[in-house]
Subunit: 409 residues, 4 copies
């Protein structure tokens, strides 16, 4: 049986590579027994040999010690791979298929999945609706920054690429379909981005950049991206966005006015979440900053898309309220403007096929937008460290050396 | 092994009851081999002991010889039953569950199903998207006017009732969830029925009556129902609809004017389909009548919901064009009014849970609206004959005698 | 020139009746000069002789001193009346028309109005998008708890009733079209209420009761209404809602569980707003209570409709944050459940025609649901006082004695 | 008083330039008296000095004698101009504003306009809902291929450009906002075009090219354009579309297969209408061809957007049915595939502001896509003739010589 290396959380700031054992076609016992499965056996599952697997900003929350993740937590939920073994109730996915794996684990059989809300599947996580590979409080599904992974309900979950050779040529773009490209796109659509929209995206990390590129694909007239890190702002500028430096002491509405000629935009995307910092050169963490910015600059009647993560428990929160996920929001302002607020995990399956079509037909350049860079799986610890330092790179791990020829177009 | 009686088509005007054999947990070979299944075995399927199964107007198209159904075609797609055997990949549905079966067979794993369009599942019928139990050109899935039936992809397809005793008390309402209640509701929603709408439903057969009741549930201010049969019009009137007799020689717009004070309504539902007859006392079959009526009386900007069946092959069509499903439509009129037209099989799963909630909480009285009447399975031939004669009854077959106490409230 | 009595705010807890002068066909100078009108003359306006005009819960915020309303503020924005004078660019509304007046003043000519968002019209209030008659910070449009009122942009704003005699028979229902019936309906639709929904409405004041009745019209399976006042809960119960007493010490999710068998509902409407109180027998004001309740009991993927008013300035707020409209919200919880939040003034025009149709065709009994009661205009001060004490009555003022025969059916 | 030259229809194949007199601020007497206007005076109107005005394919239907247009019919409904006189109830539009005029004349005060359906305004045309400048059966509003034109309800109808100098630089793009760009966009959105869609547009005239460009802006992965004229197909190819030559004898589904690898696309736009011709080298007019093609190649569950004009009276129709707007449609096929059909005039106001933003921010190149070419107003007769011969040019008339510097970027 093959070794199966995986990135494992060891404590704040530390990840290592460990052999977690070759996956079995079975669901975690904790899930099966608590969620009423008739059996732990995953006749519906497949084993994937992982071709690419990315480091995600939401992994950072764990690695920075901002969650209750225990030592030994396996990591990785942005997975692309080739099917090498199929369960006996997998009907349509075949051995050899190269597939994108939505980060949301979903059963395809509950009320939420039937309503396309795969981000809140009711059957795969005893803690709450919704689950993911390699994440704290998500039911204990093994992580996918690894050599191999088991994907349950494979006919439902997997998106096979139509042509393997073509897919390998665009693998750095396609690898973004498992999470950040759909997540950014979800943020942009929730915010109402469409032809001619003016848009502000808070945060120029990979999800923010993906939201900005998605806004462009959706036809936005102007896309402004705000961040505190110069390298990230330059990355945003590199594909046509207007940078907004939040370390400046000007009020956000004045910064927007300078760009737009009015202090408002049509759409705002929060791609930052609960680890937000305040404005100005001296600011520290201020978790409601982005939400309050959004209410300040979103046009009356506009929508605010919030793909950025907000949590119910944050041991490192700035105060007692933040530690239990409570934020001081200028809700009276939002109400006066008839704002709508959309939250939650992206249901990847609502978007990934369409975005795949965009990539395969050269309409989307997501790898370039997020500055994808390939590193070996064993270099993941260094990748985590560099990413945490604010470098504007999206790290793509290459467990089996399949991506050695892959480059950004 | 138990006998399994089923209604079987023998030729125009004739059905009989035959033993078709106890169902197996396998998909039809024709489907499995042509649609790329990895195996014919239905690990995903269950066997149901059928509690109720209704005769449908669309069965009549076959029995009247208006389709290419061959002799021996098994019938029945409006099924409610109790799970008595489960495949080994059925995780959440359990033995003993009493369930409604959507008439659309759907895999839950293809693009269409993932987009909630279970009426056009891509994996279950080699002839075209979409399938059903016991229907011509639908892949050969056995009919369910029977003692037992196999339901594939059971976790996805089945709607279990929350409480069996409560369900048996309302079984005459709940049995309508497999087809006509959602189909009527689909028609009404496609037509844009909502609070305060004025609505015309063409056809007072069971689907028309279901559409009319659905329009009421959706908040319609006025619901007019048109038909040529007095008994059916009286049935519509019995639950608050306004009858419109199409055998009168007045123009439809004048009949509408007399009721509404204007010659138009907000919404039109075509619950008749291709066997439509013309207006007036002397009219014969005229397949585009209802569609042209709809364009005549739907308000500019309004929508036309078309749950009534139109076919691509009608051996009994009035002319060569009708025989290949071509109709002479007043499309210029519809265009001038910016009409929208919505067609196709109802994706039952989009509606059945919500309608079940309405029934269980006494908000919907669908059995009363369609005049449900229980008869033994063996009396199905007589039921077909009576239904064809135009009686305003919805026949519910009772294979195992479970419904002997069931009555309309 | 006729006298024009109007209700006027004199200070916390005190309103009087004053003659404010017969209205002119002109817009307030403050509005005209600041919003770029070409002229103050309202060629687009009409004068209405008011037939009915209701006291609203949002008037109470002013009268309780919870806003910055100055002494002398004229009151009243729930107006129904007969056109007695028309401007020379009023083309379609005619003298003698009996009309419902949406409380939102809207120009029908700006981007927001063209997009149907009349609650945030951009041209009628220098303070912010959106305006109303007789309200603080709304541009200074005179109040309509009066004998007469000027309605600008009358062809756009007014909803004429099709038959005056019929309308006078249902005037106690139709008078609710100016605000609370559409506002309640807006809350229910924003919350996603539809066929089969389970719904919790926070607040059994008139808007809460209207939301509850709207939820029923939209097809809800179960409507639960929460309040602290027994008389209001009984009123909710009188038309089929399930009461929930928030003065009990049980957790809201446990109270919901007791009713529903699960601690969640599909849809939540906040019809309370910023003057919310906490749960339990001893609680005082706690402005985020209803919003946090909503996140606690709304199903994952569900929507929260928030017609209840939240403000940007509350001189009487419980703490400094509340005084500037900032609330401590459990946003992490809402995010984890993928909730959507919809806020703002109801754009009455999106709903009033449809709801009128429901009333005129006996589908809606809103006067009964909110317990409408007619009093003379001169008794308005007493009505304000009684309403503030928590009585479950919706007061309808009758300036000209037209309603003396009007009774609830 | 200035002369006002206008293009006038003289009979099949013949237009001339005539002085029709300087416009007055009044609505046509025929409209005012039949539609219940209180006065013919247009206090709501403005006079525009026309800067650009385009020849439209729908003008061709008249000029080819395919409508009941009488001799003397004034022409032109694609108007851009500068406000030079304002009525006394025009509040927000100012003298000097350079504006795009939606071709639909709309009152902004009826039920349809309040619901954003300006293409079917109920108050401006005694013949039917909806109107336009210079068109048969539209109420007699004067044409705008002229020096000057009166625009009624100007605050509602006009779209002013934010900066006049900037606008004049992009005037060849902005002139397309009055009709074909929104009309093409409407077709594409009705057809469901979005990120990753595969699209077939029937017709490579200006509206078809606009629909194709709109599909690109909406994110389409592949846009195929079909026509019989080689020059038009080359024009489509010039901006990234795939041409499909309908004069080939292959079946349309086979031609699609060759391009897509499957015989279907997600979305179809009919930009041809009732003057459609059949497939193959020998075909003549066959009015249902495009609609039947659409049902043949649209994916199950897909939508068909039909901006192409279908009429209720066509004196030149190929047979008696066609002459009254009846077409032999393969409706059974469409029904079997659950197709939705969307028809009617584009409500320009739903799209023009957003498309203006796209143009002003260099996201849309519509002038290039349709090959805009400026000619003097006096050369309109030649322009009509050339356009009718099938040349792939969109003619922009320049009444006052303002466009002499204008060129496609």
């Amino acid at each position: 049986m093959a070794e199966n290396r995986c990135v494992v959380y060891q404590g704040p700031g530390e990840v290592t590579i460990e052999d977690i054992g070759y996956p079995k076609l079975e669901v975690p016992e904790y899930v099966a027994s608590n969620m009423g499965f008739s059996t732990q056996e995953a006749h519906h599952g497949v084993i994937l040999r992982i071709v690419s697997t990315n480091i995600c900003g939401s992994d950072q929350h764990m690695v920075r010690g901002r969650t209750t993740a225990p030592q030994g937590q396996t990591l990785g939920h942005e997975i692309t791979g080739e099917v090498i073994e199929v369960g006996n109730d997998v009907q349509f996915i075949k051995e050899g298929d190269l597939c994108s794996v939505p980060f949301n684990i979903a059963c395809g059989r509950c009320r939420a999945c039937k309503e396309r809300m795969t981000g809140i599947c009711l059957n795969v996580n005893p803690e709450r609706p919704g689950s993911a590979y390699g994440y704290v409080d998500m039911g204990g599904w093994p992580g996918g920054q690894a050599d191999y992974v088991m994907v349950p309900f494979a006919d439902f979950n997997l998106l096979p690429f139509p042509d393997k050779d073509q897919a390998m040529e665009k693998i750095l773009d396609l690898t973004m379909l498992s999470d950040i490209f759909p997540t950014g796109y979800h943020g942009a659509t929730m915010a109402g981005c469409t032809t001619g929209s003016t848009v502000y995206v808070a945060g120029a990390g990979p999800v923010g950049l993906a939201a900005a590129h998605a806004a462009q694909l959706l036809g936005a007239a102007v896309v402004i991206v705000g961040d505190a890190i110069e390298e990230r702002l330059k990355q945003a500028e590199s594909f046509g966005c207007v940078p907004l430096d939040i370390t400046q002491d000007a009020a956000i509405e004045d910064q927007i006015s300078e760009i737009m000629g009015e202090p408002i935009v049509d759409c705002v995307v929060d791609a930052v979440g609960f680890e937000a910092r305040g404005h100005g050169s001296e600011s520290g963490e201020a978790p409601a900053t982005v939400l309050n910015d959004a209410m300040t600059i979103t046009r009356a009647g506009g929508s605010i898309g919030i793909p950025g993560l907000y949590v119910t428990e944050d041991p490192g929160g700035v105060d007692e309220a933040a530690q239990r996920g409570a934020l001081s929001m200028d809700f009276g302002l939002g109400w006066a403007r008839s704002h709508a607020f959309y939250t939650g995990q992206c249901p990847v399956m609502q978007y990934n096929r369409e975005l795949m079509m965009s990539i395969l037909n050269d309409k989307a350049q997501i790898a370039k937008a997020v500055n994808a860079q390939v590193i070996p799986l064993d270099d993941a610890p260094q990748g985590y460290q560099d990413f945490d330092s604010g470098t504007s790179v999206k790290y793509v791990l290459d467990p089996h050396g399949d991506l050695q020829g892959a480059q950004r177009a």
